[in-house]
């Protein structure tokens, strides 16, 4: 056993060093910045479009008195709703030819006017493309009504007593943690374990596989490769956990202490998160390594990537059944199925306080890691190294 572990360590050290000490690892480490930057750029554009869509601009053609009352009613409504999407009003003095003025205003692109409200408070008339926008019409009705009879009284006082948690908020927060953490685990595993697919290509194309296979069991090489990539991935995750925690500390008032707590508590949850990431990575990685080991070229690996990614999506969909109902038959089945088990159990950690199911789950998952590695190594020896007696099943049948 010691020799096995020592052999695996030799491979793991070589692979980890070759990965982390290469220039490309910097790009690997910075890779989350690219979607963040893209998200920032496209998110900014999207937000501007959304803001423009959410703030319909209505031109009010009236005398200044009517407009002042309408404007005051609008501010009251916006303040009560704490919603910036209330219509925005722009004042225009009436011109001699109202029809021509309306036409010009609606055609104007700067500012983009959705509708024109004319006729003052006495005979209001709305002109514009508002058939699919009942919210704007409704808001204007309310504003006109309030402007006609302004409420002079102050808003009714309502004493508010804030408490830290309520059962409703705890369940909501824990479900959110379960969902986000399961998604995070899924995406991290998809992005990181996919690298394992091509791990044996280098050895096979360099022919160094012969030297390694002559010196140690193939299982040890598989384990070494898996743990090397796991270590590189954990390094990647730790860097980004630190960056994320620092960002929350600086941006969010009260820092990370104000984050809602998962059912098992943050400390246990982080430990579980790392353990389940490791298990998920090892389970999928072992399967990928086995599949990738059959490939001879990078092209074959690329072709294999697509069905594997879709398979992962199906597994993620299966695992998602546990969110909100961690004790349902579906959730328990997903917890037993080895490839979805880590994601389901992490979601469970967010929603259920017991720790003992996690001990059973980790042992169960570790068993499957060992089984897949063992099976993968045997398959590699059989199909790639062409080792051992080879009897096809139909021949076995005919012999029997």
């Amino acid at each position: 056993m010691m020799r096995f572990l020592r052999s695996a360590f030799v491979i793991a050290r070589r692979d980890f060093g070759a990965t982390v000490l290469s220039k490309t690892f910097i790009f690997f480490l910075l890779s989350p910045l690219f979607p963040l930057l893209l998200g920032g750029v496209f998110g900014g554009i999207g937000a501007r479009v959304a803001t423009e869509a959410a703030h319909p601009l209505v031109a009010v053609v009236s005398d200044s008195g009517d407009f002042a009352r309408l404007s005051e009613a609008r501010d009251q409504l916006a303040s009560a709703l704490a919603d910036p999407s209330v219509v925005t009003l722009v004042h225009f003095s009436p011109e001699a030819n109202l029809a021509a003025q309306q036409k010009r205003l609606l055609a104007s692109g700067n500012p983009p006017i959705r509708a024109v409200l004319s006729g003052g408070l006495a005979h209001p008339q709305l002109t514009g493309d508002v058939s699919g926008d009942p919210a704007t019409i409704g808001q204007l009705r309310l504003l006109i009504a309030n402007a006609r009879e302004p409420t002079e009284v102050a808003p009714t006082p309502l004493p508010v007593r804030n408490i830290q948690v309520s059962s409703g908020s705890v369940v909501k927060d824990q479900r959110a943690i379960a969902l986000y953490c399961e998604m995070l685990l899924f995406f991290l595993t998809v992005l990181l374990s996919g690298m394992v697919l091509s791990q044996l290509i280098e050895e096979k194309s360099n022919k160094i596989i012969e030297v390694i296979a002559a010196a140690m069991p193939i299982d040890a090489m598989f384990v070494g490769k898996l743990f090397a990539m796991l270590a590189a991935s954990v390094l990647f995750i730790l860097v980004w956990i630190c960056v994320g925690a620092l960002a929350i500390q600086f941006v969010k008032e009260g820092g990370v202490q104000t984050l809602p707590s998962p059912a098992v508590g943050w400390t246990a949850f982080i430990v579980l998160g790392i353990v389940y990431f490791g298990m998920n990575y090892l389970l999928l990685g072992a399967a990928f390594l086995t599949i990738g080991a059959q490939a001879s070229t990078a092209r074959q690996v690329q072709i294999m990537s697509m069905p594997i990614t879709f398979s992962q999506l199906i597994i993620f969909g299966f695992a998602s059944t546990a969110i909100g109902s961690p004790n349902s038959p579906g959730a328990i089945a997903a917890a037993i199925f080895p490839l979805s088990s880590p994601m389901v159990m992490l979601a469970r950690g967010a929603q259920e306080p017991q720790l003992w199911p996690h001990i059973i789950a980790v042992v169960w998952q570790a068993l499957w890691v060992a089984l897949i590695v063992r099976g993968g190594a045997q398959l590699f020896r059989k199909t790639v190294l062409k080792s051992g007696p080879r009897t096809r099943w139909w021949k076995r049948k005919s012999v029997a």
Binding site: R3, R6, S7, V10, R13, R14, A18, S22, E202, E203, N206, K207, I208, I209, E210, V211, I212, A213, A214, A215, M216, P217, R381, L385, K386, S387, G388, P389, R390
Partner: protein, 322 residues
Amino acid sequence: MIRQPRIKSGDERIEDRLAVEAVDLVKDFDGTRAVDGVSLAVPPGSIYGLLGPNGAGKTTILRMLIGIIDPSSGTRQVLGHERPLEAAQEVGYLPEERGLYPAMHAREAIAFMGALRGLPIAEGRRRADALLAEHNLGEWAKKPIRTLSKGMAQTVQLLGTIIHKPRLIVLDEPFAGLDAINQGRLEELIRRETRAGVTVLFSTHVIAHAERLCESVAIIAKGKVAFDGRVDDARAKLSSIVRLRTRASDGPWRSAFPANARREGHEWVFELPAAGPEPLLKALIDGGAGIETLAIERPGLHDAFVAIAGSAAAEAMGQEKA
């Protein structure tokens, strides 16, 4: 003659055992029999050659012997271990298709190969420095493998094969791709390792190397062992060849020639008669043949190979040599 391998009991001293033993090894690949009942016995401390043309099954035999692949049937024992990987720390292996990580430094590559065989990495680096300096590659120690010439890279891999001081070195076509100077160096390295008590088992399709280095050989043809024994025993299977040039073209002295004597240009070529050279010389002198040149050639391993493995295999090897 195929020497019967001896599988000895575990309580014997390891020095008394054969370094490598194989009994009836068979390997099938998808219905094709690549190795067919091969039995070998490699004495410890010897240089043992596996001879045969490409495709004869040499590499498959070596891969089975060191545990890269399992045989379809048969047994093997390496340094007393029935499971070859258990002896991995005492075995060095140079595969036919050389392989190193291109980005790895020469020194690290050698230390890594030692680490694969259980040598601590720090000790591996220390030994690598010494070995590289000894082979005039000291200045390349911290250069990536991809910057080395093919010959240098092969030397680095060979040094990685012996870095952990193995008791058995297995080399698959070690001379392939080397120039004459490096081939000579490699031969010297093999001899030096053997003088230190190391067993060297290597495959080759170039008979000259085997003839210069090996005490014992196995001739492999079509997956079978056609001969297993000492090189001298292989040669002894053939008579010496007489090459004779005379001034007279014919005479009574011709009666001293065996029936299968033939003319090759101006020479007579025939096997030395069983009675030896003296009666032949007497007949030539007494008969007035007028001897211009007379050479008695001891048969080489190549001749023995032709006789043992058959002309088809020899032709295949001849093509490889060309």
